[in-house]
Structures are given as structure tokens and as C-alpha cells.
Subunit: 199 residues, 2 copies
DNA sequence: CATATTACGTACCACTCGATATGGAAAAGA
DNA sequence: TCTTTTCCATATCGAGTGGTACGTAATATG
């Protein structure tokens, strides 16, 4: 993947560091809202360097999405490992609060790309949609397990409870993007857990 | 507000009809995603006509928001008139489904503007934020009334239950924007009502 | 009819967008 | 040292952006 030839002039900037800066820009301004000038300014490199290192804007966004998934959504995988459905929900809700209320990176990139990016490259929305869908399926599987474990008092459908929980999480991301603070999001999380239909 | 002088050449297009077309474009593509070419093509008018009739793109968007609030969010006012908190929630949830799953206008403009429009005119986000906040306060007041009426079994805070319900509604809008169909959103609504903490 | 007022249509403005061609600087191997 | 390879920087590309100047057509008032 990465060119590792030893010949020629070595790169003067750190690729990972530049990618992290690009992620922050995409996170705050969205795909279409982030111009190449915004990106290169934040990354500290010139346009040709960006194209040489990352291909183009879309490829850079995809790599930023990869980094986002690895760093910022790691809590999702850990959340699924909780012992009960309530534990999974709790982990997801409070993990989302941490991710969604950054110092300057507010909201969720997946939500941004789903709601915005309407006129953007269809392939990007498709990519984000696929990532979201795979997480959703994992959560459905975990909820089926919880149902088999007898976690839920009343009978529930795994698809239904998953889609409901995702809606709450996405709604929290929306409110965070609109300026909600941590305390207000904790209210949502506590209310959700207070009426969560399982032990 | 509107020029009603009888002198001069009369306008050849219907202002309200053109505004409705602009609303559809803004709804599907967002504020920044909707170009003047998109707008004028859909409205069937030329650029100078648009600027003469509506001022500029931002003013047109605001008037489209007004129309959106009057036509598409009328159900919110009716929802608040329900007799119980559960009735309010039910009306809001199912009303949102109707609004959010149009034939070609999917999602919620308020959610779009909150999540997207990060780099757009700050005044627009502020405007949308104010509109959302006023609806939120009305819902808080209705929930306080419901608490006083003894609607809720367990003790709840009006601010908390409001923010929770809004999160579910916003999450449904996100899922609609991502392609969820009516049946899937009905699952979310039913799940929300099934665990709703009031009679 | 004459004139004022308004709307329409074309053609264009300055600007920004994402993306590149080009030329020189720097570092490796021969 | 010489060549090759790669990187960096300037300067630009064509396309598209929101917004307008200007000339013409159409209607109402006098």
C-alpha cells in the first residue's frame, strides 16, 4: 500500500499526523464543507503533497473515516462485550457522549455523512452506509443473544430494539452538533436507561 | 413586506409555487448543496427574477423554512394538544414518520441544518437553532403540564423526558435520511411507545 | 399615445472549487 | 560527481459558485 522506496527525497511531513489533522477538519466541516484550502492549511502541507500522499479528496476522506472508526469508534466493539443488553446500551450511550462532545469536534461523522452529503459523491454515502450497516448488524446479533439469554422482561424483536437504540444515539449526535453540552446528553442517556426494558 | 404596486409589468410566475419548489430543493440537497442553478431550474425562473422576488439565497432559504414550518410541522402544534403525555409522544412520533418519509423529500430540515451547515452562514444555523429551541420549550411546557396531571408513573423531569423524546425523533430523521423505510421507522415509534413511562 | 415602472433574458462578474503541469530542491545509488 | 528518483512550491487549469449589469419586453398610469 504505502510506498516505501528508499530512493529520492524523503517526505518532510508525518503522514499520520497530517491524516489526523484532516480528520479534524472533515469532522467539523463535513466532506463538502471542507475545502482543499481548509485541509492543506490544517495539515500543514501543499496541495500537490496532499495528492501525492493520499490520492484525492475522496480517498483522503475514506482514510480519515478509517482512522475515525479505529480511534473514535473503538468503544462500540467494547460495548458489545458487556454481559447484558442493559450493559451494552449503557456503554454505547456513555461512549457516544465522550465521542460526540469533543473540544472542537462535535457530533458524529456517520450522522453527518448520512444527513448531509446528499448531493455529494454517491459512493461516499454508500461507503458510510455500509460501515453503519455492519455496526448495526453486529448490534442486532448482540441483541438476539441478549434475548436468548432472557435479558428482556417483555418480548422484544432484536431488529426493533436495535433500531430504537440507534435512533437515540443518532439523536444525541444531532443535539451535540446543535450545541448540546455533556450534561444535557447525560440526561438523554439516563432517561433511556431508566426506561430500558431489560434488567 | 410584499410589493403590491400595480404599475409596471406583472410577474409571470407564482411566488408561492416557486417558493414551494425551492423548499423541495433545499429539503433534498441542503442549503449549501442547493446551487442557484438547481433552484432556478426547479422554480422555473431566472436568477434575476429570483433575486428580485426573494432577495438572495439566504433570504430564500429563510422563507422556505417558514413555509416548511407552516406546512410540514403543523402536526407538532396539534400533537401538543393531545390529552396525555403518551398521546403527545404518539402524535409526534407518527407525525414525524409522515413528514420524514416523503416521496423525494426525506429527512428533517432542522436536523439537516443542525448537522450540516457547519461552514455555512452562522446566521442560518442560529435561525434554525432558534426555531428548534422554541418548539423544544413548548414541548417542555407540555411535559410539565403532564407531570402536574400525574401522567407519569415514575417521577421524571420535564427537561429530561423532552430531550429524550426529541433525540428519538431526530434519530428517526437521521435514519430516514439514510434510507430507512416507513416500516422501519414505525418499529422505532412502536418501541418508544411500548416503553414510554406513562399511562 | 407617451412615459414610467417593473419583469425577463443574456451575458457576465469576481471568486472558489478540486485537481495539475511545471520547474527546482533534496536525497539516494552508481 | 552524476544520474535518478522523489518531494516541495508556484502558478495555473476548467468548471462551477453566488450575484449583477444591461438591454429589451410588457403592463399600468397620465
Amino acid at each position: 500500500m504505502e510506498k516505501t522506496s528508499t530512493r529520492g527525497r524523503p517526505r518532510e511531513f508525518d503522514t499520520e499526523q497530517a491524516l489526523a489533522a484532516a480528520l479534524r477538519v472533515f469532522w467539523t466541516k463535513g466532506y463538502e464543507g471542507a475545502s482543499l484550502t481548509d485541509l492543506t492549511d490544517a495539515m500543514g502541507i501543499t496541495r500537490p503533497s496532499l495528492y501525492a500522499a493520499f490520492g484525492n479528496k475522496e480517498a483522503l476522506f475514506r482514510k480519515a473515516l478509517d482512522l475515525y472508526g479505529e480511534e473514535k469508534l473503538a468503544y462500540v466493539g467494547r460495548a458489545l462485550a458487556a454481559e447484558t443488553a442493559r450493559g451494552v446500551a449503557s456503554n454505547l450511550l456513555y461512549g457516544a457522549i465522550d465521542t460526540v462532545t469533543g473540544d472542537e469536534c462535535r457530533g458524529c461523522m456517520g450522522v453527518m455523512a448520512s444527513v448531509s452529503c446528499q448531493s455529494a459523491e454517491e459512493s461516499i454515502r454508500e461507503d458510510v452506509s455500509n460501515r453503519t450497516e455492519s455496526s448495526r448488524k453486529a448490534l442486532v446479533a448482540r441483541m438476539e443473544q441478549a434475548i436468548a439469554d432472557g435479558d428482556f422482561a417483555a418480548p422484544v424483536e432484536a431488529e426493533t430494539i436495535t433500531r430504537y437504540l440507534l435512533a437515540v444515539l443518532q439523536g444525541m449526535a444531532v443535539q451535540a452538533g446543535a450545541g448540546a453540552n455533556r450534561e444535557q446528553l447525560q440526561q438523554v442517556a439516563e432517561a433511556t436507561l431508566a426506561i430500558w426494558p431489560s434488567r
